[in-house]
């Protein structure tokens, strides 16, 4: 476990060593605000809650989180530091987990910085802060799931642009896997159980359940197991690449 610390710390600090952290956080906050107030008509709704705000999270994450994840492994591969990293006495799981947790913590920081909207809504009315807290937790879990997908795909390539585009597509399909666009491709030939299984992967469904104010253990487990699944795949990809 002591191996996790240095890997995590280096990765987390690396976001701040370049303008990346600043640019990401500014754009994240700006987009959150713009979506909520202009597209979501936050004021016009006349309701003191953050449903509109959280409703846009999956769509923003869809583009911003892969941008955060794309460099995780692709950059190491391109610059050659992968060879350094993998010949240091750190177990592979610790490297994979440390890098992922650093990116997740960074995403969490960006999320925490949206707190002015929480202050605003409390100033305007009496929202259910329990629901808001649940939604924040749900949003954080969902960001982690997107990140794990991005990290896994980043491990498969040394090209950050490819990592970004493929991640966006995979995340998009998982986000809307409950929608007809995805399900119609399976209906008609695939067994019903498969179609239902695919539809149950929908991020939107699981996230909506949490933002409804109920943290159902099943939704939490869904996101956590998805993270576990993709990080395991991430490990396997890095390990497979070793055999050249």
């Amino acid at each position: 476990m002591s191996m996790l610390g240095p890997v995590f710390a280096r990765e987390f600090k690396s976001y701040f060593a370049t303008p990346l952290a600043f640019v990401f956080i500014v754009i994240f906050l700006f987009a959150m605000g713009a979506f909520t107030f202009y597209l979501g008509h936050f004021y016009d709704n006349g309701v003191a809650d953050l449903t509109v705000f959280f409703g846009y999270h999956p769509w923003l994450y869809l583009f911003l989180v892969p941008a955060l994840a794309m460099r995780l492994w692709a950059e190491e591969r391109r610059s050659g530091t992968m060879e350094l990293l993998l010949t240091l006495p750190v177990p592979l799981w610790a490297t994979v987990l440390g890098k992922f947790l650093a990116a997740w913590a960074f995403a969490g920081l960006a999320l925490i910085l949206t707190f002015p909207i929480w202050v605003t809504v409390n100033y305007l009315g009496n929202p259910d802060n329990g629901v808001i807290l649940a939604s924040y937790i749900g949003s954080f879990l969902m960001a982690g799931a997107y990140l794990s997908i991005g990290a896994c795909i980043s491990a498969a390539t040394s090209n950050q642009v490819i990592a970004f585009i493929v991640s966006v597509v995979v995340c998009f399909l998982l986000t809307i896997s409950g929608a007809p666009l995805v399900l119609d491709a399976f209906r008609g030939w695939a067994p019903l159980t498969l179609t239902e299984a695919i539809s149950s992967f929908s991020f939107l469904t699981h996230f909506a359940a949490i933002t409804g104010g109920v943290i159902d253990l099943r939704d939490v487990i869904f996101f956590l197991s998805l993270i576990g699944l993709f990080l395991t795949a991430n490990m396997l990809i890095v390990d497979l690449r070793k055999s050249g």
């Binding site: 240095p6 993998l86 240091l88 750190v90």
Partner: protein, 244 residues
């Protein structure tokens, strides 16, 4: 102590390293020579655990690099080809990260870092981002990283590449100074380097050991006593033989 046994690596149809066996004992400085593409770097990548061998095994101080990777890598200091490092970090931050990964902390980390910094003569650039350093300094950052934990086994891939004559002299002095109780393998294109610091010269060509003897014995093969002549004879004859 490095024990390499029947090490083989293929990349598609190309056999990069073919059935290579070598034992390097403490106190030895082995100069690994060969034309570009002879398999020097591939061998080093396998010995340090970055690439998995297709056949054969490598042991570092008795620890198998494939089955007991972490224990083997703890004993090992490795300067990969091109001396990769995290460019956005300063040497100070970078060596701090390496010390953390090597599980050195507090006074031990400080002493180890100081020793490595002095050895690699990095003092003047400790707080500049590695990206902004000259090739020579970057190489020395890589060297400092490799010797930080005072490892029993050192594997250095072209440690003096890109250094000016004074720096080359200093690095060779550093390697010679450490040679007494360590097992050192360096790869190089510079035959004068072999004469200057190595106790043993191994020439490989097309993944096979062609010569394994002392630099003096190697030089004695030629009437003029010049190593580069011997090198040319040995490696070009082999290439011609393989092509025919």
């Amino acid at each position: 102590m490095i024990e390499i046994q029947n090490l083989t690596k293929r990349f598609g149809p190309v056999t990069a390293v073919a059935n290579l066996s070598l034992v390097v004992k403490p106190g030895e400085v082995l100069g690994f020579l060969g034309p570009n593409g002879a398999g020097k770097s591939t061998t080093m990548k396998m010995v340090t655990g970055y690439l998995a061998p297709d056949e054969g095994s490598a042991r570092i101080c008795g620890h198998d690099i494939v089955s007991d990777t972490i224990a083997a890598q703890r004993k090992l200091g490795y300067l990969p080809e091109g001396a990769p490092a995290y460019g956005e970090m300063t040497p100070r931050q970078f060596l701090h990260f390496i010390a953390g990964v090597r599980q050195l902390s507090g006074a031990a980390a400080k002493a180890a870092t100081e020793r490595a910094v002095t050895g690699a003569e990095l003092g003047s650039v400790m707080d500049q981002p590695i990206d902004t350093l000259s090739k020579g300094f970057r190489r020395r950052v890589g060297l400092a990283q490799a010797i930080l934990h005072d490892p029993e086994v050192l594997v250095l891939d072209e440690p003096t590449d890109g250094l000016d004559p004074n720096q080359k002299h200093a690095v060779r002095g550093l390697i010679r100074g450490m040679a007494k109780n360590k097992t050192i393998v360096i790869s190089t294109h510079l035959l004068e380097e072999v004469e200057a610091i190595c106790t043993r010269a191994v020439i490989i060509d097309q993944g096979r050991v062609v010569v394994d003897e002392t630099p003096a014995a190697l030089a004695a093969r030629s009437a003029t006593g010049r190593l580069d002549e011997v090198f040319r004879q040995l490696t070009t004859r082999d290439t011609a033989g393989a092509a025919a």
